[in-house]
Every structure is written in C-alpha cells, then in structure tokens.
C-alpha cells in the first residue's frame, strides 16, 4: 500500500467520532483505527471501509457494533501484510513512520557501513508554542534500520519507532526514575531522558550493528 492516499468520507453525528475517524483514516486504517478509536465498536456506529483507486473510504452509518469488527476483520483479510514499521524494518518503512508521526524528511547522511535519514516535525504556526521532534534513523547497507535517535518537545510514538520490539517494554518493572527510561535485552537497548517538555532518546539492536559501528555514534546534536 505504499504511497496510497487515505481519504475520509463520513458524516458522523459528533465531533469526537469525526476527529477520531479522521485521525484513524489519516494514518494506517487497519493498524490505527482500532488503536485510535477502540471505543467506536462499543458505542454507536458502524464503520464501512472500502478501497478504490488507492483511496480509502471510511463511513459511519447505523448502530451495530459487531459490524465494525467485521469491517476490521475484512480489512485484515483483504490486505494480508501491513508490515509493522520501526526498528528492524527496511528502508520503505521510514516514510511510513514519517507519515504516522507527521514528520517530513529533512536530510540524509552516511558513514562507514551505514546511512542515515533524518525526519522532523514541520514548523507549526501555533502562537507562542514551538513543537519540535527530530528522528534520525540509521540503516545498514542492506537498508535495514538498526538504530534510531530522537529529540524534541513532542515525544515520538514509541510503538511506531520501535515497531515489533515495542511490546518488550511491557516487561519493565516500576522505576523510581520518572524522567528516564532504560531497557536492555539481546535485541533492544533503549535509553530515554527528558522532562515534561523535552526528551532525547535512542534505541538500537545490538545484534544488528554494522562492523565497527559504536552505539556512541547514535546521537542527534543540538540543531
């Protein structure tokens, strides 16, 4: 489904549902509809989903929660492999990550045995508030993401940037350090530091580092 456009065509009765569906359709309709709007199945309306000429159509109609499940199930059947993006995935997933996180590509780079793609949140015009997020993804020569560094006032959605490795975090015990997240196993090292308005983090797969690459190279400097 690379490059497909998603369009919302619906007239729902409330602004909440409207916004929810908008967010779901703006993102990946399967992965994110259920995540963004889990309550809709219980609540009021039926979701109709169709796919035509690379356009998703999402429509709410009448009361019948179970049909929502049918629709989601059908989507799963019709599009068998919507790959999880994030760490461990390949180059094509980078723009998918960017779209999910609302980022744009700002630069590329390379080093010995790897290349980088840097994504950033576009400037917003909200008065008095500057939201920032920069994500740097490190790819090996086969195009696989082996490390990610990020920094900014907006925390990235960890479930996106860690992809299939994200559920590992649920095994973390409670921590006394509220402004620090540290996780380590054979396939994921994650370290984040920050405050309520800023965070800087990095994650990598220690099994997948290119020869000669040190984790200390995973960094985003002050712009």
């Amino acid at each position: 489904m690379e490059g497909s456009t998603m369009r919302r065509i619906l007239k729902s009765p409330t602004a909440l549902q409207e916004a929810c569906l908008h967010e779901a359709s703006f993102r990946d309709p399967i992965e994110n509809f259920s995540r963004t709007c889990p309550f809709l199945g219980w609540h009021t309306k039926e979701l109709t989903v169709s796919f035509s000429r690379k356009v998703w159509n999402l429509r709410l109609t009448k009361n019948y929660p179970i049909r929502l499940s049918f629709a989601i199930l059908l989507l799963h059947l019709l599009i068998p492999s919507m790959a999880m993006a994030g760490l461990g995935e390949g180059r094509p997933q980078i723009m998918e990550d960017a779209r999910k996180l609302g980022l744009v590509q700002v630069r590329t780079g390379s080093g010995s045995g790897y290349s980088t793609v840097t994504l950033a949140l576009p400037e917003t015009n909200r008065p008095g508030i500057k939201k920032t997020l920069t994500i740097k993804e490190y790819l090996d020569l086969t195009g696989r993401i082996f490390a990610i560094a990020w920094k900014g006032s907006v925390p990235p959605d960890l479930s996106v940037i860690l992809g299939s490795l994200f559920p590992r975090l649920s095994t973390l015990p409670p921590t006394q350090s509220r402004h620090r997240l540290f996780y380590q196993d054979d396939h994921l090292v994650l370290s984040v530091v920050g405050s309520g308005r800023f965070r800087v983090g990095r994650a990598w797969n220690p099994q997948a580092l290119p020869t000669g690459f040190s984790p200390s190279q995973i960094r985003i400097m002050t712009p």
């Binding site: 602004a15 909440l16 916004a19 929810c20 967010e23 259920s34 995540r35 963004t36 889990p38 309550f39 809709l40 199945g41 219980w42 609540h43 039926e46 109709t48 989903v49 169709s50 000429r53 929660p65 179970i66 049909r67 929502l68 499940s69 049918f70 629709a71 199930l73 059908l74 008095g128 508030i129 920032t132 560094a149 920094k151 900014g152 925390p155 959605d157 960890l158 479930s159 975090l169 649920s170 409670p174 921590t175 006394q176 509220r178 402004h179 620090r180 997240l181 540290f182 380590q184 370290s191 530091v193 920050g194 405050s195 309520g196 308005r197 800023f198 800087v200 200390s216 400097m221 002050t222």
Partner: protein, 404 residues
C-alpha cells in the same frame, strides 16, 4: 471499482462468523477489561522526625524518600482533604519534581477514592500523562491541599490507577509506570501547563478523547492538572526554590538529606537562566554544546560523556567509572551563565555505601545534560520561575548561583 464490503452476501457473514470466533481479542468486540489483580508492593515509609524546620509560611520541609529502594528522591508530606469537608489524610513521600507539571497521587492512597471526579458536560474526566519512564492513566479529581503554611487551595489532581486499562492512545507512550512502590504521588512543579501540552484528556467510561484531540479548550482549563504552586495566591505563585540541602561528599554520599521548598521567588539572589519553550537551556560540557535542564525527578546526572565506563548488569544505565573535577557551563537563552562543578563516582562504589543521597551519581546519555537531583546536593539554592501575570507560561527561568 469501489468495493463496499458490508453489502456482501450472507455467505460472507457465515464465513466471517467462523473466522471471527478466533478473534475474540479484536478491538471493538473484545471486552470485559478484566485487569489481572496485582499485588504490587506499596511504599510503607512515613515522614521522618528530624526535618529542616521552615521559618516562613511559604515554605515546607523536603526530605529523602523513606520508600524502600529510593535514592536521590526529594519528597514532601502533603495534607490532602476532600473539598468542603474535614476528611483529610497526611500523605508522605510525594516526589518534588521540577521535571513535570501537576499533582498526581497513587490510587493506593485511601483518600483518593473519596475525592470527587472532575466532569465536563456531565462526563467524568480521565487523563493520560506520559512521563519518560512510561504512562500514568486515571481519573482527574479535585482535592484541597495545603502547601506548607499557605492557606489551603482546591486543585485538580490526577489519580494514577495502574489497575485501570488505559486507552490504546495512552499505551503508545511506553510501558505503564505506576508510582508504587517508590512514591505515593508526584508534585510536578515545572512551569504551569499552557495548553495541556503534556497530558491527554478523555471523558466517559469509553474514554473519548476530549475535543477529539485529548486537549482541553479554553473553557475547560479549570479541570487541567495544573502546577499547584501556580494556583496559590500572588506573590507566592511565581515559582519555587529548593534550598538548605547539604553539600554532599562526592566519594561517599550521605544517608539522608533534608531541605526546604519555598513558594515564590521574589527574593532570590540568583542568576536567571531563561529557557526556551521546551524548558531547556544549553550546557557546554566536554567541548560539546548540549541541551540541558535541571530536574529533581532525575536521580542522577545523565550527561553526554562517552569516555566514562558504563555499568553492566543491574546497574546498567549508570556510570561505573570515576571522573572527579568536572565542570559544565550552563547558558540561558538570555545569555546568562552559571558554572556547575561536579564529580562522577562509580555507581557501584556509591551504592555499596548503603547511603541514599549522592551528589556524584550519573549515567550516560548522548546530546543532553540532565542536571538531576545530585546538582541540588552541591550546597546551592536552585529554583524555577515563571511569569504569573500574563499566563504567558510558554517559558520561564531556572535559577542558580553563578557558580556552584
């Protein structure tokens, strides 16, 4: 070729029903939400007896947490009451945190079950707040609290209830990060919230995102989990100071510390390091320019130093090498500077002392200079200040001596 999947023949639904029977966990038809009963240990420590005595009504004592296993954790004891009643509870071990905003209490504290929930349009309000360590989800309630000798104030409080299943949009922030057994609550004293930027708000039992985005609008801001100090009467609502902590020996640490939290900053003889909207300043350290901030909620100095040895095993994430005689220059966006002198001592060495407060505990983190609680154990008075007049709370100041 538009394919309307819901106008299929009955055979489709029969097929789907068979398939669906294996999909009981599917969002939208899964239910019950039966969270597994947990037997998480809770903090049993109380308020210590020999605390620094406040000399002013706008002060209260801060002490090293008495929860088991806490190091470098400055906490206070707060009296929390059900509004308009005499039902009150004194709650010890509430983290003094200048790295987050708002008062949050663990649902394991008994009085939290009696605090009235905030509502919008007759619907209960819930909040998801993402600390770096993970998310806290639970109801927004109101409580009457007393900060030191100040008059009681009624403030919105988030109850962190890890036994409630959080909405998916909350869970994407990372793991659930309950306060227990390390804290009974968190008193977040970073700048006032300015547009509910940090928290995501929900209404109703199905957790609808408020206003579709989870952000309160201007008519709903009284329900926001606000910095309680910002809600004090003028002039004590302009910021906070932390003072009176001892200068802790870097090589050994000390068993416990006590100091003072002061509300209001008007008399501070300190340097004003202006921050940007992300509440950060700049540190020059080891030849690099780093994003920097003070944070009492960080138990170490988490800094960019790739030459120091890192710990492995249980102490992973801390430094296990020694680096005495370090110095960093902190610079505000207003170009004022302060020089911070410190040492890093191996976490293995420090923890082996059995002490709880260390001025030299640190850990590696590229690109950043997190001046955590060890920076407050250098004998210096350090504070946070914001603009209380115009609600222009997008930025503020860190306050520190010019050299410490």
């Amino acid at each position: 070729m538009t394919e309307n999947i819901l106008s299929r023949s009955p055979a489709y639904y029969i097929l789907l029903f068979i398939l669906l029977s294996g999909f009981l966990g599917l969002p939208g038809c899964g239910g019950g939400g039966s969270s597994s009963p947990t037997t998480t240990p809770t903090c049993t420590g109380g308020t210590p007896s020999n605390l620094t005595t406040p000399s002013q009504t706008n002060q209260m004592a801060v002490y090293q947490s008495t929860c088991q296993g806490s190091v470098n954790s400055p906490v206070v004891t707060l009296t929390v009451c059900v509004p308009q009643t005499t039902t009150c509870q004194s709650i010890p071990n509430i983290l003094v945190d200048i790295g987050s905003t708002g008062l949050r209490l663990s649902h394991t504290i008994s009085i939290t079950g009696q605090l009235p929930q905030e509502q919008i349009s007759g619907q209960n309000i819930f909040e998801c707040y993402a600390f770096v360590s993970g998310y806290n989800f639970g109801p927004v309630v109101t409580a009457q609290i007393t900060l030191g000798g100040e008059s009681p104030i009624i403030v919105p409080v988030q109850i962190s209830n890890s036994s409630l299943p959080a909405p998916q949009s909350c869970q994407s922030n990372g793991p659930s990060s309950p306060f227990q057994p390390y804290f009974n609550g968190i008193l977040g004293l970073l700048f006032p919230q300015y547009d509910s930027d940090s928290g995501t708000y929900y209404t109703g039992s199905n957790y609808f995102l408020i206003n579709g985005t989870g952000t309160l609008d201007s008519t709903q801001l009284s329900s926001e989990v606000q910095n309680p100090v910002f809600l004090l009467p003028s002039v004590d609502n302009t910021g906070i100071l932390l003072s009176g902590f001892p200068s802790v020996p870097p090589d050994t640490g000390t068993p416990n510390v006590s100091g003072l939290l002061t509300f209001g900053t008007s008399s501070a003889p300190l340097i004003q390091l202006k921050t940007n909207a992300s509440a950060t300043i700049t540190a020059t350290y080891g030849g690099s320019s780093l994003t920097a901030f003070f944070d009492t909620g960080s138990n170490g100095l988490f800094i960019d130093n790739s030459t120091l040895t890192s710990c492995t095993g249980d102490l992973s994430g801390f430094f296990c090498g020694n680096a005495p005689g370090q110095s960093a220059t902190l610079t505000g966006t207003n170009n004022t500077t302060a020089t911070f002198s410190f040492s890093i001592i191996s976490a293995q060495t420090l923890f082996a002392t059995g002490n709880n407060d260390f001025s030299s505990l640190g850990g590696p983190q590229p690109s950043v200079f997190d001046a955590g609680f060890p920076a407050f154990l250098s004998g210096a008075e350090i504070g946070v200040m914001w603009d209380s007049n115009t609600n222009n709370t997008g930025m503020g100041y860190f306050l520190a001596p010019s050299s410490f």
